[in-house]
């Protein structure tokens, strides 16, 4: 059999059931009744003990949502979602809201341990100095044990615990769940919530504004460099339950923060909805680095089940010389609809988008970014690497625009796609629009196949086929991997290897 044919045949036998996080946990939950109505929103708001302005905000969003239509422009196909057939709130009975580590249900701690995030050990381990850490040693394979990452653990609709809060507070950094922030820091939340993604932004963002349950809140005050990596880990566990994450990150003048989110879900036959809104605000000279390792359950070999990941992420470079950088490694979800964007409002501000999107099996990815240049001398950079295997469809959709007043706006875009086998598809949909004649936009795009020559060469050195493919793919995505916080780069590389398992045999 010729090599190419062989690869294709093996791809047909594809098996994406390599998902390691597909276990589910039996845990007693407190749920809202199924479906969506004003009463359900009141229920959620009451559960979270919210002030009345928050409830009003939600209700207004809900009323607007009722008038909206689901968007259809993305290159993704799925049966119509019955929004009345979803639970909008589910919280573990034992730990219905954020608490301190000692109060968290041990069963929940076990879940996170199984996911590789030993919350309890985290703070203990942080105190233990590493002895002979030579710079040549491999980075630890569990970054959550490094003592350099604070974690907010969100389980279905609630944050169950946030680690290192005290240490961070000493530096003036607020890191807590959004629910807690609404109660404890209402002035900050009211000032910034919805200021980047208005409640009316789009169908899913509006839905999220009405029913959002939990997510993280980060506030880094003027001049502070956040002393550790912040991270939120989202776990969807409960059946038929949507997760409506809401995250808000604010970096005041001259502040710096690096934040990472991770996520997993049980393996189930039905599809589940994760509709998130993430807002970032960077004031003068501030910098926010936001990284995602998205590993939601992708569905099985026949394309059954998996998460619908419909996400609105936007950063506002509100201040002069501010900088927002998005880095994403997308390997999971049945459907991904996600365009982390930057509004370059401040003069001399800059935005970056580095993306790796791996699709296998029947996954559908429609992802990319928007760079909206409003201020003078603003610059943006887009590096997107799409890898499609199996029967998957992988679309990069990007928009770069320069406003009339955005003199000297600059953008560089590079989108590369790599195909494994010939049943999959890669598509690039760039929109560019410059209303200012001094704007300079550069766009490069390539599509290639993993060459049999390369694979043969690598295998000739004793590297088995799957490892050979993973090595070549990891070389292909190197420019983006380098953008991840060092601690997470190794994990991301491994994840890419695992996601492509079964793509060749």
């Amino acid at each position: 059999m010729p090599a190419v044919q062989d690869t294709i045949d093996r791809v047909r036998k594809i098996d994406v059931d390599q998902y390691k996080y597909g276990f589910q946990t039996e845990i007693a939950v407190d749920k809202a009744p199924k479906g969506l109505s004003e009463d359900i929103i009141r229920f959620i708001s009451a559960k979270k003990d919210e002030p009345s302005w928050m409830l009003e905000w939600r209700l207004e969003a809900y009323r607007r949502w009722l008038t909206l239509e689901e968007p259809t422009w993305a290159r993704v196909h799925y049966p119509k979602i019955d929004f009345q057939d979803i639970y909008y709130y589910a919280a573990p009975k034992s730990t219905p809201g954020p608490s301190s580590l000692s109060d968290v249900d041990p069963e929940l701690l076990k879940v996170y341990e199984k996911l590789g995030i030993p919350l309890r050990e985290q703070e203990i381990l942080a105190g233990v100095q590493k002895t002979d850490a030579s710079e040549l040693e491999e980075p630890s394979d569990n970054v959550y044990k490094s003592g350099r990452v604070a974690v907010d653990a969100v389980f279905d609709s609630v944050s169950v615990v946030t680690t290192f809060k005290k240490e961070l507070a000493q530096a003036g950094v607020i890191f807590c769940s959004i629910s807690e922030a609404i109660r404890e820091h209402p002035e900050l939340v009211q000032k910034y919530l919805g200021s980047v993604v208005p409640t009316s932004d789009n169908f899913y963002a509006t839905l999220n504004s009405a029913v959002f349950t939990d997510g993280s809140f980060v506030f880094v005050p003027k001049g502070v460099r956040c002393p550790m990596e912040l991270s939120t880990y989202f776990r969807m566990n409960e059946k038929n339950t949507g997760q409506f994450e809401r995250t808000l990150i604010i970096a005041e003048e001259g502040a710096y923060v690096s934040y990472l989110e991770g996520c997993t879900a049980p393996q189930r036959d039905e599809n589940q909805l994760h509709a998130a809104v993430v807002e970032l605000v960077a004031l003068d000279d501030a910098e926010i680095k936001y990284s995602t390792v998205q590993n939601w359950y992708p569905g099985d070999a026949e394309g059954k089940g998996g998460i619908y990941n419909f996400v609105t992420k936007r950063g506002d470079c509100r201040g002069d010389r501010s900088k927002i950088s998005w880095t994403q490694v997308e390997t999971g979800s049945a459907i991904t609809w996600k365009y982390p964007s930057c509004i370059l409002r401040g003069d001399d501000s800059s935005g970056e988008f580095y993306s790796i999107a791996v699709s296998n099996g029947y996954q559908q990815v429609d992802s990319g970014t928007k760079m909206i240049h409003l201020g003078k001398n603003t610059s943006s950079r887009i590096i997107s690497k799409g890898i499609a295997a199996g029967f998957s469809q992988n679309t990069y959709r990007g928009q770069v625009s320069a406003h009339r007043k955005a003199t000297n706006a600059r953008n560089f875009t590079n989108c590369d796609s790599l195909l494994i086998g010939d049943q999959c598809g890669a598509h690039t949909v760039p929109y560019m629009e410059a209303k200012n004649s001094t704007a300079q936009f550069e766009h490069e795009a390539t599509t290639s196949k993993i060459s049999e020559d390369q694979k043969f060469y690598v295998m000739q050195r004793g590297i088995p086929e799957e490892e050979a493919i993973a090595l070549i793919v990891n070389g292909f995505v190197k420019d983006v991997i380098q953008q991840l916080p060092m601690e997470f780069a190794v994990e991301a590389q491994k994840l890419i290897g695992i996601s492509l398992e079964g793509s060749v045999g």
Binding site: A3, L136, E452, D453, Y457
Partner: protein
């Protein structure tokens, strides 16, 4: 060590037969030179030895240490000790040469049930091997073969060969693209590896290489067959008189 018996092989895509009843035996410790005009099937033979799937063996067998290797995939053949220094080494963008060496060495160790190399030991080996080939360590930080000159690629092949310590080394036109100094360095590298338990198949067009790597036997390949075998004097004869005489004799 290597016995190729009445080997027939064709291109899978279009069925063209390239190797047509080839016989060749190479003993442990032997250096066998394969010569022959362009297009006679030398590279194809090297690919088939290494297990490339574009070719299909229709008849005959390849025995390596008495065992047929036809059912083994390229990685399995490599870990069993077969190494091919490519005529045209592939570029692997984004994969630092050093990283590639580490993965290859450790995969082979894993297949043999050995522990991965500790980083200091790995570095020591790479530094020594690179120094012996006059290779700059800075080059090893670059992606494998990407932007390497022809000569650098060939050196990188020999570097890999040194580090992987194979038992059967197939060198496909390693001399092409090398200047005299580089040829000397590469040949010294190969000679240093000559050992009683290691065999070499040195494919070349020119006598030039064989002045540095002196072969124990010389075989002329033409239209997919070995048409003449002899000792090193055969190479000198070919250099002086060309292939026409030998081809005429065989016809």
């Amino acid at each position: 060590m290597l016995e190729i018996k009445n080997l027939h092989a064709r291109i899978v895509d279009d069925g063209t037969e390239i190797i047509r009843g080839l016989n060749l035996t190479v003993k442990a410790g032997e250096v066998a030179a394969i010569m022959g005009p362009n297009g006679s099937g030398k590279s194809t033979l090297s690919y088939i030895l290494a297990g490339r799937e574009d070719y299909e063996v229709t008849e005959g067998d390849i025995l390596y240490n008495g065992q047929s290797i036809l059912e083994m995939d390229p990685a399995e053949r490599a870990t069993s000790g077969i190494f091919l220094a490519f005529q045209y080494p592939m570029e692997i963008p984004g994969v630092a040469t050093m990283e590639f060496l580490k993965v290859a060495m450790n995969e082979q160790r894993k297949a043999r049930g050995e522990e991965p190399l500790k980083i200091p030991e790995f570095l020591k080996r790479v530094k020594e091997a690179a120094a012996s080939l006059s290779m700059d360590m800075a080059m090893l930080k670059r992606p494998l073969n990407v932007g390497f000159s022809g000569g650098e690629k060939k050196r990188a092949e020999i570097l890999q060969m040194k580090l992987l310590e194979p038992k059967l080394c197939v060198l496909d036109e390693t001399d092409s693209g090398l200047d005299i100094d580089a040829l000397k360095i590469v040949s010294d590298g190969v000679n240093a590896l000559r050992a009683p338990d290691r065999a070499f198949l040195v494919i070349t067009h020119y006598q030039r290489l064989l002045e540095h790597i002196v072969p124990d036997s010389v075989h002329v390949l033409y239209k997919g067959q070995v048409i003449k075998s002899g000792d090193k004097s055969l190479a000198l004869d070919l250099e002086a008189n060309g292939y026409a005489g030998v081809i005429g004799e065989a016809a």
